[in-house]
C-alpha cells in the first residue's frame, strides 16, 4: 500500500463526512470561478464593442479643429473623414438629440467596417445608426435635420475670427439605418455606449461646410507606418499655409495662413529661413489724433524701428492733417479669456508719411480676415468684434473701395507684437526674399522644415488604445469577488467547520498514526491530501457551477443590475486560464483554510488523540493572551473614533468608523468567549439554566454561531448604509455643489451668458437671466472617465474653468479649488470616484496629454472632489487650458446656479433659446443620481450576494446545531429517562441556540450602527432603516427557522436508545 492509496481509500470511505467540505469547496469554487468569468465576460464584451466601433481601423489622425487636405489621405492610401458634433432632430421637430456624431464619409470608410460591406445610399440622403433612429423615431425614407457648426480656420475665440453665428443645417432623407455590425457603432472614443451618428457623403458635407477638399480626420488599417507616410506626403495646405509672391520694391515670397495668425510652432521653424522677416497686421478700432478720428483701420508691424514711431500713409496724414513729429493714438482690442475683448490704446509719433503710390502701401500686408476681407462695404463687416457702424464715414467706405485692407500705418514688428500678440500667434505672415526660386520648389523647401506633429496632427493607435481601455476597464471579476467575499468566507467557514467535525470524529486515527511512527507533518499532509481529493472534486463541480453563476450574474447585469454595466451588451466568455486560475486559487484557499482550522488538533498530545477526547474547545487556551486583546482592540477602536473627529476626508472618516465597528465586534466576540469560559459556580436549578450551561460547553461552536450572525449583519447593514443619495442639492458642499442645473451644448457657446451681450446674442429674457449664474467650462474632448464608462479612460475629458467661479462649491476629499492656481505646472482636480476607479489615480499622480502643438504635457492631480456631479472630467484652470489649447474655442459644459423654484423655467428658456447651439440642461441632482445609481447598484449586488452569504452562514449554523445536539443525544436520553418531556428538551435546545442568534444580531446591529454614524450625519438620516430592519428580521427569522428544523432532525426518534448505545 502506498500513501496515495491510503489517502484515496480514506476519502472514499468517509465521503459522507466530507460532504460538507465538498459543498463548501463547490460553493467557493463556484463563486470564485463565476466572479472571475464575469470579469472575463465584461472584458470580452468591451473588446467586442471596441471591435465593432473600430472595425479594421488601427490608427489615424483626428485633427478636430485642424483641417487638412483630403489629398493627404488619398496620397497615403488612408480614408479621409470629417468628424463633427452636432444635433439631429426628426422633421417634425419633436425630438432633438444633442451631441450627435456627424460624419462625412466616402465609400472607403465602409470598407473599414468589420464586415467590409459597402453601403450605398443616395447622395442626397444620409444614413443614421440604430440608437439615433430609435431616439428620433424615424425610419428609412423619413427626414432628419442635422445642425452643426461651419468650421473656422481659426479659433472663434480669436480676435477677427468672424461671426460666431456659423451654423449649417442639413435636411436629409434617411437612406439607411445602420446596425452596429454595419459600422453604425463607429466611434473613436472608448465607450461601451454607442454614439448617435449621422453619416453624410463626404463631398456633400464638405460642400455644406465650405470645406471643399478638406477633412479633419484620417483613418487607416495600419498604425505603425502612418506617421512616416503622412509626413512624406504633407503639403503647405495641410498646415493651412499659403505661399504668395509679393511684387513690391523688394521681390519677396509671403507665407501666410487662413488662420490669420501663424502657429507659433511653425513660426519657430519658418523663422530660420534666411532673410525671413515677420509681419503682424492688426485691425485697430480707431486712430485718433488732435485733429480727428479714423475708425477701423489696418496697421502693420514689420521690420525694425523705434517702438513709439509710426509711418503713416498719405491718406491718413490728410485725414488727420498730420505731419512728421505729430502724435497719434491707436485704439485696439486685446483678447482676454474666451472672446472677452479689452480695448487698449498706444501712442505713436509720426516718423514718416508714405505716398499712396509707394510700393510699400499695399493691401498684401493684410491677411484674409473672415467677415472682413470678403465683403464689399465696411458696413458689412462681421469681424467678430463689437463694431460701431455709425463711426464709419463715407470716406472710409471710399478708402475700402479703392484700397481694401491696405494698412494706414506701419510700426515696428516688435511694437506690433508687443501690442497684439495673443495665444493664437504673434505673426500674420513671414516674408522671405525672392532668390529666383519657383513657387513649387520653394513650397517643397518650406514643407521640409515643417512637421504635421508640430500642429498636433499625430497619428493615434486607436486599436491599441481600445485594447488598453478594455483591459484596464472596471475589473468586474475583482468587483464580484469583493462583493461575494462574505459568501466565499461563509463557504470556507462552512467547509472548515464540517472538516473539523470529521477530524474530531477521527482524532484517534491521528493519534494512532503518530503512535506508529508517522511524523506530525506527515499525518497532517495526509489529511490535507485527503481533503485535497475532496476539494478537487468540489472545485471541478464548482467550475460548472461557476459557469452557471456567471450566466446568472450576466443576466442580472443586463436586467436588474444594468446600472453597473451602463448599456454594455454582455456576452459570456470563459478562458481556460481564468478557469484554471480560479480552480487552483480555490484549492489553495480551501486547503489553507483547512490547514489553519486544523492547527490545534495537531498540537494535541498523541495520548489524548488516541483516547478520542479531542475537540476544538479542549485545546489549551492562553487566557492571558486573550484577555490582553480586549483592551488592546478596544483602545485601537477608541483611538480611531477620536481621530475621526479631526479628519476632514469623509471617506477616511467612514473608513475609521467602519474599522472601529469591526474591531468592537471582535472585542464583543472575545468578551463573550471569556464569559462562556467563566464558571459562575452557581447551582443550575432549572432546565433553562442547564441549557445555558450548554452555551458555554463548546465556546468555539457558540462563538461560530454568534460570529456568523454578527459578521453577516454587520457587513450587510454597514455597507447598505452607504447607499448614496444626492442629499440636499442646494447645499454648496453637496455633490451638486449647490448648482441647480448642469448641461452640455453640441456646439460651443462663445458668448458670456452672464452678460448683456450674451443675453442679446441669444435673445434671452432679461428679467429671468439675472436669476441665474452660469459657470462655463471649456472642453477638450476625450474619454469619459466617469463610472458610467466601463472602459479605463486613456485620455479623460479635460475641462477648463475659472476656479474662482466655483469657490466654496463642492466637498473635497482632498485639496481645494485654490490648488488650481499654481502656475508652475498644470494642476487638476477630479472627482474621487473618477480618479480612483476611472483612472486608477490619486493625489500627486499625473496624466499625459498633448497640447495643440503636439507637445506632451503632464496634468497633476492636486485635489479630489467627494461624490460630485463633476465625475468623468479632469478640471484644470481655464488659463492653463488656453495656454495648451489656444484653438479650443467657446464653452460646451455648464453649471447653472439658480434657486430651485426658478430652475425649471431657466432650463426651459435657455434650452429653447440656445437650440441652435444644441444646449441640453438637466437638474444637477438628476445627473448626480445617475452617477450614484452605479454605486448603489454595486451595493445592491453586494446585498444579494452578502445576503446569500448570511443565509449560507445560517444554514451552517443549522448543521452545527444538529451536530451539537446529535452529540448530546445520550444525555438528552438520560434527561428523558429522568422524566423530562421531549417537548421541554426541544424548547431547551431551541432556547440555547436562539440566545446565540439573538446575541449575534445584537452584536452585529450595535457595531454596524457605529459604523454608519458618519453616513447618518452626512445624509441627515438618509440610511435605509426600514430596509435594513426588514433584512435583520428576515435573517433572524430564517436563523430561528433553521434552528427549529435542526433541532427537530437531531431530536427525532427514541432518545433513550442513545443511552444504551453509549
Amino acid at each position: 500500500m502506498k500513501l496515495k492509496d491510503y489517502v484515496l481509500q480514506s476519502a472514499r470511505y468517509y465521503w459522507r463526512g466530507h460532504l460538507g467540505l465538498l459543498f463548501g469547496t463547490f460553493l467557493a469554487a463556484t463563486i470564485l470561478t463565476g466572479s472571475m468569468l464575469v470579469g472575463d465576460s465584461v472584458r470580452a464584451s468591451l473588446r467586442r464593442v471596441a471591435a465593432l466601433r473600430l472595425g479594421k481601423i488601427e490608427g489615424g489622425v483626428i485633427g478636430g479643429e485642424r483641417w487638412f487636405t483630403e489629398n493627404l489621405a488619398r496620397k497615403t492610401k488612408t480614408v479621409p473623414v470629417i468628424i463633427a458634433t452636432g444635433s439631429a432632430s426628426a422633421a417634425n421637430g419633436k425630438v432633438r438629440v444633442n451631441g450627435a456624431q456627424v460624419l462625412g464619409v466616402d465609400e472607403g470608410f465602409w470598407k473599414l467596417s468589420t464586415s467590409g460591406k459597402a453601403l450605398a445610399f443616395d447622395k442626397s440622403s444620409a444614413a443614421i445608426n440604430e440608437p439615433l433612429a430609435r431616439k428620433l423615431g424615424v425610419k428609412v425614407g423619413d427626414t432628419v435635420l442635422v445642425r452643426l457648426e461651419r468650421p473656422s480656420a481659426i479659433s472663434r475665440d480669436a480676435p477677427l475670427s468672424g461671426s460666431t453665428n456659423q451654423d449649417v443645417s442639413l435636411r436629409r432623407t434617411v437612406g439607411a439605418i445602420l446596425s452596429a455590425e454595419d459600422f453604425g457603432a463607429f466611434q473613436l472614443t472608448a465607450s461601451q455606449v454607442p454614439p448617435d451618428s449621422v453619416f453624410v457623403h463626404l463631398a456633400d458635407l464638405q460642400k455644406q461646410l465650405d470645406m471643399d477638399g478638406r477633412v479633419n480626420a484620417i483613418l487607416s488599417t495600419h498604425f505603425a507606418p502612418l506617421r512616416a507616410r503622412l509626413e512624406e506626403q504633407r503639403t503647405l495646405e495641410d498646415f493651412a499655409l499659403q505661399l504668395k509672391h509679393i511684387d513690391g520694391a523688394q521681390k519677396e515670397w509671403e507665407i501666410s495662413t487662413s488662420r490669420v495668425f501663424l502657429d507659433r510652432s511653425l513660426v519657430e521653424n519658418l523663422w530660420l529661413i534666411k532673410g525671413a522677416r515677420g509681419v503682424m497686421t492688426y485691425l485697430v478700432n480707431g486712430i485718433t489724433s488732435a485733429n480727428g478720428a479714423t475708425p477701423y483701420s489696418m496697421i502693420t508691424g514689420v521690420d525694425r524701428g523705434h517702438d513709439n514711431e509710426i509711418t503713416i500713409t498719405q491718406w491718413l496724414a490728410d485725414d488727420h492733417k498730420l505731419a512728421v513729429g505729430d502724435e497719434l493714438k491707436l485704439q485696439y482690442f486685446v483678447v482676454g479669456l474666451g472672446r472677452e475683448l479689452k480695448q487698449q490704446s498706444a501712442s505713436f509719433t509720426v516718423a514718416g508719411i508714405l505716398p499712396m503710390t509707394d510700393s510699400k502701401v499695399s493691401k498684401a500686408w493684410t491677411p484674409e480676415f473672415p467677415g472682413v476681407s470678403d465683403v464689399d462695404n465696411c458696413r458689412d463687416w462681421e469681424p467678430g468684434i463689437p463694431m460701431n457702424m455709425k463711426a464709419i464715414r463715407d470716406k472710409d467706405e471710399d478708402y475700402w473701395d479703392e484700397f481694401k485692407g491696405t494698412p494706414k500705418g506701419f510700426i515696428s514688428l516688435a511694437a506690433g507684437q508687443k501690442l497684439w500678440s495673443n495665444r493664437f500667434g504673434n505673426l500674420t505672415a513671414i516674408r522671405i526674399p525672392d532668390n529666383g526660386q519657383t513657387k513649387e520648389a520653394l513650397s517643397n523647401a518650406i514643407v521640409l522644415r515643417l512637421n504635421l506633429a508640430d500642429i498636433g496632427l499625430i497619428p493615434r493607435n486607436f486599436k491599441g488604445e481600445a485594447g488598453a481601455a478594455a483591459q484596464g476597464s472596471v475589473d468586474f471579476g475583482g468587483l464580484f469577488i469583493g462583493l461575494s467575499l462574505f459568501l466565499i468566507v461563509a463557504a470556507l467557514v462552512f467547509a472548515a467547520l464540517l472538516f473539523l467535525f470529521t477530524l474530531e470524529r477521527r482524532a484517534s486515527q491521528i493519534g494512532l498514526l503518530m503512535a506508529v511512527g508517522w511524523t506530525k507533518a506527515m499525518v497532517r499532509r495526509v489529511w490535507l491530501m485527503e481533503a485535497g481529493v475532496i476539494a478537487i472534486v468540489g472545485v471541478l463541480l464548482g467550475v460548472f457551477g461557476g459557469v452557471i453563476y456567471t450566466k446568472s450574474a450576466l443576466h442580472g447585469l443586463s436586467a436588474v443590475w444594468s446600472g453597473a454595466t451602463q448599456g454594455l451588451p454582455l456576452m459570456f466568455d470563459a478562458s481556460f486560464g481564468t478557469i484554471f486560475g480560479a480552480a487552483i486559487g480555490t484549492l489553495v484557499v480551501v486547503l489553507a483554510t483547512l490547514w489553519w482550522a486544523s492547527r490545534t488538533i495537531f498540537k494535541t498530545a498523541t495520548r489524548d488523540l488516541l483516547a478520542g477526547s479531542w475537540s476544538a474547545d479542549a485545546a489549551p487556551v492562553n487566557k492571558k493572551a486573550r484577555v490582553k486583546w480586549i483592551p488592546l482592540l478596544s483602545g485601537i477602536a477608541l483611538v480611531m473614533l477620536i481621530a475621526a473627529l479631526f479628519v476632514k476626508n469623509p471617506v477616511a472618516v467612514a473608513g475609521m468608523f467602519f474599522g472601529s465597528g469591526m474591531l468592537l465586534m471582535i472585542v464583543g466576540l472575545l468578551y463573550l468567549r471569556g464569559w462562556m469560559r467563566r464558571d459562575s459556580g452557581a447551582l443550575a436549578r432549572t432546565l433553562w439554566q442547564i441549557g445555558s450551561r450548554n452555551i458555554s460547553r463548546r465556546p468555539s461552536r457558540s462563538l461560530a454561531v454568534i460570529g456568523m450572525m454578527a459578521g453577516g449583519i454587520f457587513l450587510v447593514v454597514a455597507v447598505n448604509a452607504f447607499r448614496m443619495s444626492a442629499g440636499d442639492e442646494t447645499k454648496r458642499d453637496s455633490g451638486t455643489g449647490g448648482f441647480a442645473l448642469i448641461g452640455e451644448s453640441s456646439l460651443p457657446v462663445y458668448e458670456d451668458l452672464n452678460s448683456k451681450t450674451g443675453w442679446d446674442a441669444f435673445g434671452l429674457d432679461e428679467k429671468l437671466m439675472p436669476k441665474v449664474r452660469v459657470v462655463p467650462f471649456r472642453v477638450k474632448e476625450g474619454d469619459d472617465a466617469s463610472c458610467l464608462n466601463l472602459n479605463r479612460a486613456q485620455k479623460p475629458v479635460l475641462v477648463g474653468v475659472d476656479p474662482t467661479k466655483l469657490a466654496g462649491s463642492f466637498a473635497f476629499a482632498s485639496g481645494s479649488w485654490d490648488k488650481l492656481s499654481d502656475a508652475s505646472f498644470v494642476p487638476a482636480i477630479a472627482d474621487q470616484a473618477t480618479a480612483m476607479w476611472g483612472l486608477g489615480k490619486g493625489v500627486g499622480d499625473t496624466l499625459d496629454y498633448q497640447d495643440s502643438a503636439g507637445n506632451t504635457f503632464q496634468v497633476k492631480i492636486v485635489g479630489l472632489l467627494a461624490g460630485s456631479v463633476l465625475q468623468g472630467k479632469m478640471i484644470i484652470n481655464e488659463q492653463a487650458f488656453l495656454a495648451k489649447y489656444p484653438d479650443a474655442a467657446g464653452y460646451r459644459f455648464f453649471l447653472l446656479d439658480a434657486k430651485p423654484e426658478h430652475a425649471a423655467e431657466i432650463a426651459a428658456h435657455l434650452t429653447r433659446q440656445l437650440e441652435q447651439r444644441g444646449l441640453a440642461l438637466e437638474p444637477a441632482r438628476q445627473r448626480l443620481e445617475v452617477f450614484l445609481s452605479v454605486q448603489n447598484t454595486y451595493i445592491g449586488i453586494f446585498t444579494v450576494l452578502g445576503g446569500l452569504g448570511v443565509l449560507l452562514g445560517t444554514a451552517g449554523i443549522g448543521v452545527l446545531i444538529a451536530r451539537h445536539v446529535l452529540e448530546r443525544r445520550g444525555e438528552l436520553g438520560l434527561m428523558q429517562a429522568l422524566g423530562f418531556q421531549v417537548g421541554s428538551l426541544r424548547a431547551m435546545i431551541l432556547g440555547e441556540h436562539s440566545v446565540l442568534l439573538v446575541l449575534g444580531v445584537i452584536l452585529g446591529v450595535a457595531t454596524a450602527s457605529l459604523a454608519v454614524i458618519p453616513r447618518l450625519i452626512e445624509s441627515g438620516g438618509g440610511v435605509p432603516v426600514a430596509f435594513l430592519g426588514k433584512l435583520i428580521v428576515a435573517v433572524l427569522g430564517f436563523g430561528l427557522w433553521v434552528c427549529v428544523i435542526a433541532v427537530a432532525i437531531a431530536v427525532r426518534g427514541k432518545l433513550t436508545e442513545a443511552i444504551r448505545r453509549e
Binding site: Y6, Y14, S508, M514, V516, W518, T519
Partner: protein, 224 residues
C-alpha cells in the same frame, strides 16, 4: 546493556480544579533487558499508562532520563522520536484502533508507510504473520467484518510489522471476554518469543501478568 533504562523518572499533571501539580510517577528507576517480557500492574490511576506512554515516547518525563539501546532520548526532537517509534517500538492498545477504511492487510502495513525506506519484504512478512495469527483468509476484509478478538490479532501483527525491538501493550485484552483474553495473551507471548522482541504489558489482571517473565507493581507513582 539493557534495552531500556529509566533513571529517576518523575511526571506530574496539573489538577484542572485546583491548579495544583499532582505527581503521577515519582523517581522511577527501571531496566528492561532485550527479549524480556514484563508486566506492570497496579490499580486505576496509579500511573501505569503514563509510564507506558513515556516508554513509547508518546509523553515526556518532567525529570529523569530514558535511554533506548544505550541512547538518551532526552534531547530528541519530535521527528527523531517518531522515527524511534516507527523503527523500534510497536504499540498495542486496549482498543484496536484499526482504520475502518483499510483492509486487514492494509492496516498491518500502515506503520511501514512511516519508514524512510520501507522493506520490499513487508508485504510478504505481513501475509506470513497474518497466517500465523489465523487471519490468512481475511486479509482483504475490513475491520468492521471482524470479531473483537480478530481485530486485536490484526493490531498485534501491525505492532510487529516493522520488526520493532519493543512491544508496548496497554491492556491489550481489556475489551475482550475472559476466554478470548487468555487465548490472545498466549498468542501475544508466542509472537513475542518467535520474533525475539521485548514486551512490556500494562494490565490490572494479575493472572495475565503472571504469564510474563517479570511482574512489577506500581503504586502511587512508585514502582516496586
Amino acid at each position: 546493556m539493557p534495552l531500556i533504562e529509566l533513571t529517576n523518572l518523575s511526571k506530574s499533571y496539573t489538577d484542572p480544579g485546583s491548579g495544583a501539580r499532582v505527581p503521577v510517577l515519582r523517581g522511577v528507576n527501571l531496566k528492561i533487558e532485550a527479549g524480556e517480557s514484563l508486566a506492570i500492574v497496579g490499580p486505576s490511576g496509579c500511573g501505569k499508562s503514563t509510564l507506558l506512554n513515556i516508554l513509547g515516547t508518546l509523553d515526556t518525563p518532567d525529570e529523569g532520563e530514558i535511554t533506548f539501546d544505550g541512547e538518551s532520548l532526552k534531547q530528541s526532537t519530535p521527528k527523531q522520536l517518531a522515527a524511534v517509534r516507527s523503527e523500534k517500538i510497536g504499540f498495542i492498545f486496549q482498543l484496536h484502533h484499526l482504520m475502518p477504511q483499510c483492509s486487514v492487510l492494509e492496516n498491518v502495513l500502515l506503520p511501514t508507510l512511516a519508514l524512510k525506506s520501507p522493506s520490499i519484504l513487508s508485504l510478504q512478512r505481513a501475509e506470513t504473520m497474518l497466517e500465523q495469527v489465523g487471519l490468512k483468509d481475511r486479509m482483504s476484509w475490513k475491520p468492521a467484518q471482524l470479531s473483537g478478538g480478530e481485530r486485536q490479532r490484526v493490531a498485534f501483527v501491525r505492532a510487529l510489522i516493522n520488526q520493532p525491538r519493543l512491544i508496548l501493550a496497554d491492556e491489550p485484552t481489556g475489551a475482550l471476554d475472559e476466554a478470548n483474553a487468555v487465548v490472545l495473551t498466549e498468542l501475544l507471548l508466542e509472537l513475542q518469543k518467535s520474533n525475539g522482541v521485548t514486551l512490556v504489558m500494562v494490565t490490572h489482571h494479575r493472572e495475565q501478568a503472571e504469564c510474563m517473565g517479570r511482574v512489577l507493581t506500581i503504586h502511587e507513582g512508585v514502582l516496586t
